[in-house]
Amino acid sequence: MDIYLPVAEVSLDIFVLLGIGAGVGFLSGVFGVGGGFLLTPLLILIGVPPAVAVASSANQLVGASVSGVLAHYRRGRVDFKMGFTLLMGGLAGSVLGVWLFTLFARLGQLELVISLCFVVLLGVLGAMMGVESVRTILRQRRPGAARHRLHRHTWMHGLPLKTRFRRSQLYISALLPVGLGFAVGVLSAIMGIGGGFLMVPAMIYTLGMPTAMVPGTSLLQIIFVAANVTMLQAYTSHTVDAVLALLLLVGGVIGAQFGTRFGTRLRGEQLRFLLAILVLVVAAKLARDLTLRPADLFMIPTDNRG
């Protein structure tokens, strides 16, 4: 059954949209990533104009993240103090990111910059996470060898503004989460995503948060980043399709609930291994698209409102 989307200006099958929403929502619940890095390319693939896909995905992420945070909150797996500290940096970073976004769009290189960002970031993070999680799993298979250093001291622990994050059992400089939030904020504004897939590994490896606390806290931060992107896109480019977002949400919020339940049954390193594989698959696909000769050498950005 086809439905006409008023802002995207295309007709699409309603069940395909609901299915995509449910699938991405499930993954979002499992891993605590917003799923934007999957949702946006999928929407473009089925014929949604890229600019509308980016903006409407952000809109959808708001709802999916609210659903996910509530599920994690009931299990006591959200660190509010950490979430809002990250967010302070994130909002500042997105201002710089939006400025860069418009600059690249004017130069006609937005598409390329987005793809390159995805390939580099997803590739590096996926490889890092994959290696680390496999090592952890192997170490546990050999009983007696499980012990490793709990806490490594680096230059990061010498920074000022030390703050206690009780839920995460951390005593670190507040500059770390603010800086991390800023960096992710810049990148998410350029790439039009919530940034969960960047945030999750960084929270585990850079901040040293317990894996169980990470998905809920990351989703809490994504709610606000995605809401900010939605407002900015609605105001500057008029590319938020609320009808599209609502359809994706109906599937997505339900998928996120099941995903969260599924995710709590998996162990941290298993979760990280699965996420690493997913991330690497997307990166490989994007890298291939960049280096293959495109089917059409010419393109008209305004025809896709891109």
Partner: protein, 247 residues
């Protein structure tokens, strides 16, 4: 309903033509002057019909609202395909379709085709900044090709069918991604390879009902629209989590 309306209109035309001598060499009309884009819109077709003042050929073109168009060409930089060159053309129709009673080359001289911009080969492509003509031609051809693939430039000439000597009709198809705005439908009467008469009719492509309301609201009250979109998402997320509260 369209069929009946068309039948009535054709009847009226016949009555007109069999009446006193008339001056118009060609008269034509559309089965509908409005393409309404609603929630279930998957494309639409419009019937063009009319009559001539005697045996002749007929060519019809439909032209969507004109806009400036920038087209990019990709090139390989350090192993990666990127947009490297662009040309911006002024006033390019957003939709273009041609129908004719016989192949265009057989019935129309190139001069007439150029003068009346009949056929995608005879559209005017004027770069907004000075550009080498050969290069401009390459980009113009590519533009036509991209638009043809999007079904907004007619890929082949639709056939105009004659019923007897003087009555003709054809059907134009508009895809789901049809640009909105005011279209012009031009009908040309062709004799001896030249245009000898013509008529222009407007056609409106517009969103109606809830879709139009959403689209207009998104443009005119962008901040309120964004806020509502965010609120809606938050509500949906909250509602969805309720059934799972006690698990």
């Amino acid at each position: 309903m369209n069929g009946r309306r068309l039948g009535l209109a054709l009847l009226g035309l016949v009555a007109l033509l069999t009446g006193p001598a008339r001056a118009e060499p060609v008269v034509a009309d559309l089965s509908s002057h409005l393409i309404a884009i609603t929630t279930g819109f998957t494309g639409a077709s419009v019937v063009l019909f009319g009559a001539t003042d005697g045996a002749a050929d007929v060519v019809a073109i439909i032209r969507g609202p004109e806009r400036d168009v920038t087209i990019w060409r990709k090139g390989k930089i350090a192993g990666v395909w990127a947009n490297t060159e662009s040309v911006t053309f002024a006033n390019i129709p957003s939709f273009y379709a041609v129908a004719a009673s016989r192949p265009l080359n057989d019935i129309l001289s190139p001069a007439a085709a150029t003068l009346y911009k009949i056929g995608t080969d005879h559209l005017k492509f004027e770069p907004k900044t000075p550009t080498d003509p050969d290069r401009a031609r390459v980009f113009a051809d590519a533009l036509i090709e991209v638009r043809k693939r999007a079904n907004v430039f007619s890929p082949s000439h639709e056939k105009i069918a004659f019923l007897g000597d003087r009555l003709f009709r054809t059907t134009f198809f508009f895809p789901a991604n049809v640009p909105t705005g005011t279209y012009l439908v031009e009908v040309f009467l062709v004799r001896d390879k030249d245009v000898v008469g013509g008529q222009t009719t407007p056609l409106i492509v517009s969103k109606v009902g809830i879709d139009a309301a959403v689209f207009d609201f998104a443009r005119q009250n962008a901040v309120a629209y964004g806020a509502i979109a965010v609120m809606m998402a938050v509500m949906a997320g909250w509602i969805a989590s309720l059934p799972f509260r006690n698990t």
